[in-house]
């Protein structure tokens, strides 16, 4: 299998799905001729006929709102919002429009839209308004599915499923992972929304890790091998959440660390921890440990960013601090 960056794997998914289905189109700021701000959509403007790749004004609400309207009228739009940080400007369009129509209108309508956005990479030192991981906000909105891209392989398969899904999906790509390369199959494949991936089996402790934290956790698991046996799970989609896989693992190991780059306060890692504790309670040796950002905006200066954003050291500490490991 050839190696591909996550950027190119996503680009492939977009290209394949747009070829497959004429009702798809791409819409966002600079996604057209310029090829997107992280070059993810490069080449698509030339590949497809006029109008399939639409550059917009800087209008996040209209990008997402129009996608909701287009989704109801036979299109399958794929919208891009440059950074998840800007999703606040389109929060109503996700929460009160796209996410509610199916239900509110009695169940028959579908709103098959995908909103791709970038969980800002704090490591790029773009500071507090361009660095946040914000999938937690959207997990709280009924009717909306929430997917996290981590590996090139998964990103491609998940994005294809997201585009084909008849519900609104918010698809988060982590900025610092675009250049990561890994093997990606040549042939077309999808990964169902709602299936966690057990990346590595283990007996002593379960680590549930998303996006960049997944890579940190993988390194840690590798290093600890022989000493502590880590079972590493990437949930991949957080809504729906594959609680079954997570709970099963928790029951086996009895110890769980959940690592996610979002803020911990009412954040996704805390929620996942709660679900596991709820369902695996009588099998747990210790409370589920949460690794994330502790109620702090992302600062600019590298030593400050490093202090705030969790890394492999924090995951290792959480594992080692588990009682009786």
């Amino acid at each position: 299998m050839p190696e591909k960056s996550m950027r190119n794997a996503i680009n492939d998914a977009l290209s394949e799905e747009m070829q497959r289905d004429d009702s798809t189109y791409l819409i966002g700021q600079d996604v057209g001729e310029p090829g997107g701000s992280f070059a993810v959509t490069r080449g698509l403007y030339d590949e497809f006929e006029e109008g399939r790749v639409i550059d917009t004004p800087i209008s996040e609400a209209a990008i997402v709102g129009s996608s909701a309207g287009a989704g109801m009228t036979g299109s399958r739009p794929i919208a891009e919002i440059m950074y998840a940080d800007f999703m606040g400007l389109a929060a109503d369009q996700v929460m009160n429009q796209a996410g509610l129509f199916k239900y509110m209108f009695g169940g028959d309508v579908t709103v098959p839209i995908t909103i791709r956005t970038v969980n800002g990479g704090p490591g790029a030192n773009a500071a507090a308004q361009h660095s946040k991981s914000l999938h937690g906000l959207f997990m709280h909105m009924p009717g909306v599915r929430v997917v996290l891209a981590s590996t090139p392989h998964d990103s491609k398969g998940l994005l294809k499923s997201a585009i084909r899904c008849d519900d609104p999906v918010v698809f988060f790509e982590h900025m610092e992972l675009y250049n990561r390369e890994a093997e990606v199959p040549e042939k077309s494949y999808k990964i169902p929304l709602g299936e966690a991936d057990v990346e590595r089996e283990g007996d002593d402790v379960t680590v549930v890790a998303t996006q960049k934290m997944f890579y940190h956790a993988r390194d840690v698991a590798e290093q600890l091998a022989g000493e502590i046996s880590v079972e590493l799970i990437n949930p991949r989609t957080v809504k729906p959440l594959d609680t079954e896989t997570l709970v099963e693992s928790a029951k086996k190991t009895g110890r769980v660390v959940v690592a996610d780059e979002s803020v911990v306060q009412n954040g996704p890692a805390s929620y996942i921890a709660e679900r596991i504790q709820q369902e695996a309670f009588y099998h747990l040796e210790a409370p589920v440990e949460v690794v994330g950002v502790d109620d702090t905006p992302i600062p600019f200066s590298p030593p400050l960013t490093e202090a705030v954003v969790p890394d492999d050291e924090d995951i290792e500490t959480a594992i080692r601090d588990m009682p009786r490991v």
């Binding site: 917009t56 209008s59 709102g65 009924p142």
Partner: protein
């Protein structure tokens, strides 16, 4: 307007019939609400009938509209069935949305009605999306987007008109200026004189229309929809009108005088049209009485239908959130 009436007598009689039906629907809703037969709250369209009727008249079944919290008139004008609308207001399973929407979210996407909407200013961005669908597939359709003058202040309305202008979308923006947004006068919320200048901002034709005259709205809307159908891009119509009832049923209406209401009533779209038709001799008193009786009966039926319908199964409350169960 005698000449105009003569020229379009048949259509105007039909439009009169529809406007009477809308008025009857709304008047009945008002009393049902007062009698506590309807849950939630309702915003009535009484006074604005000429706009929905005039603007939707030339639309095809597969054209689209977006609506607002004040959407009953738009729904009827787009061809929705008063039975199922009324059942929805009652929260019954036979309602358009199985009792999930109530007054504020009635929708029938198959009929091109993309939904009443409880978020002020939400409709225009949906209309832009419908416009994008039409443009993508080169369809012979348009989308009309109704919104109140209060919505003119919402950012997303601005974004949507700008995007429609830049992309030359087949969307007609229909602003119904009924002089108030809730309890605050329009002129305290905007430079009302500046509404038309938005046409220059978004590079689309903009026109102010007498929203109490179905003929005027009809004419302007026809021009705008034809232009949109022919690839000429979006337009903006500002329709001057008034709502006689409160913002919501139950509104004490301390913010305006009876005299002001009376002044507008003199321009009532239904009554003035009736007078014109009578004057021009295209209908007589019996015709009018028949039309009014017919509307009343139609709404009787709708109320009966709604009353006789069942409440939805509580279990259905958990269905339809996703396209397949998560």
């Amino acid at each position: 307007m005698p000449n105009v009436v003569a020229e379009h007598a048949d259509r105007l009689v039909d439009q009169f019939r529809e406007m009477v039906l809308v008025r009857e629907f709304e008047t009945r809703v008002s009393s049902l609400f007062e009698d506590n037969e309807l849950p939630g709250f309702v915003h009535l369209y009484i006074g604005q009938e000429a706009i929905a009727t005039g603007a939707c008249w030339g639309l095809k079944d597969d054209d689209y509209i977006t609506s607002t919290h004040r959407g009953h008139g738009h729904s009827i004008a787009k061809g929705l069935d008063p039975d199922r609308m009324m059942a929805e207001l009652f929260g019954k399973e036979t309602g358009y949305c199985g009792g999930k929407s109530g007054s504020m979210h009635i929708a029938d996407v198959d009929q091109g009605m993309l939904g009443a909407n409880g978020i002020v200013g939400a409709g225009p961005s949906l209309a832009v999306g419908a416009g994008l669908s039409i443009q993508q597939n080169d369809e012979d359709r348009v989308c009309l987007s109704f919104f109140g003058e209060g919505a003119m202040a919402e950012g997303v309305v601005h974004e949507s008109m700008n995007l429609a202008g830049v992309q030359d979308l087949p969307v007609v923006f229909v602003c119904e200026n009924n002089q108030y947004g809730e309890m605050t006068p329009a002129q305290d919320q905007h430079s009302v004189e500046g509404f038309e200048a938005r046409g220059d901002v978004y590079d689309m034709p903009a026109e102010t229309v007498d929203g109490m005259s179905v003929q005027s709205v009809h004419d302007a809307a026809t021009r705008a929809t034809e232009r949109a159908r022919n690839g000429g891009g979006p337009s903006l119509l500002i329709c001057e009108t008034y709502r006689y009832h409160g913002h919501y049923e139950g509104d004490p209406m301390v913010y305006r005088t009876e005299a002001e209401v009376e002044e507008w009533r003199e321009r009532d779209p239904v009554d003035t049209l009736e007078s014109s038709l009578l004057e021009s001799g295209h209908v007589d008193g019996d015709d009018v009485a028949a039309i009014r009786a017919e509307a009343s009966e139609r709404i009787d039926e709708a109320v009966e239908f709604a009353r006789a319908s069942e409440y939805p199964d509580p279990e259905s409350a958990f269905e339809g959130v996703y396209s397949e169960e998560l």
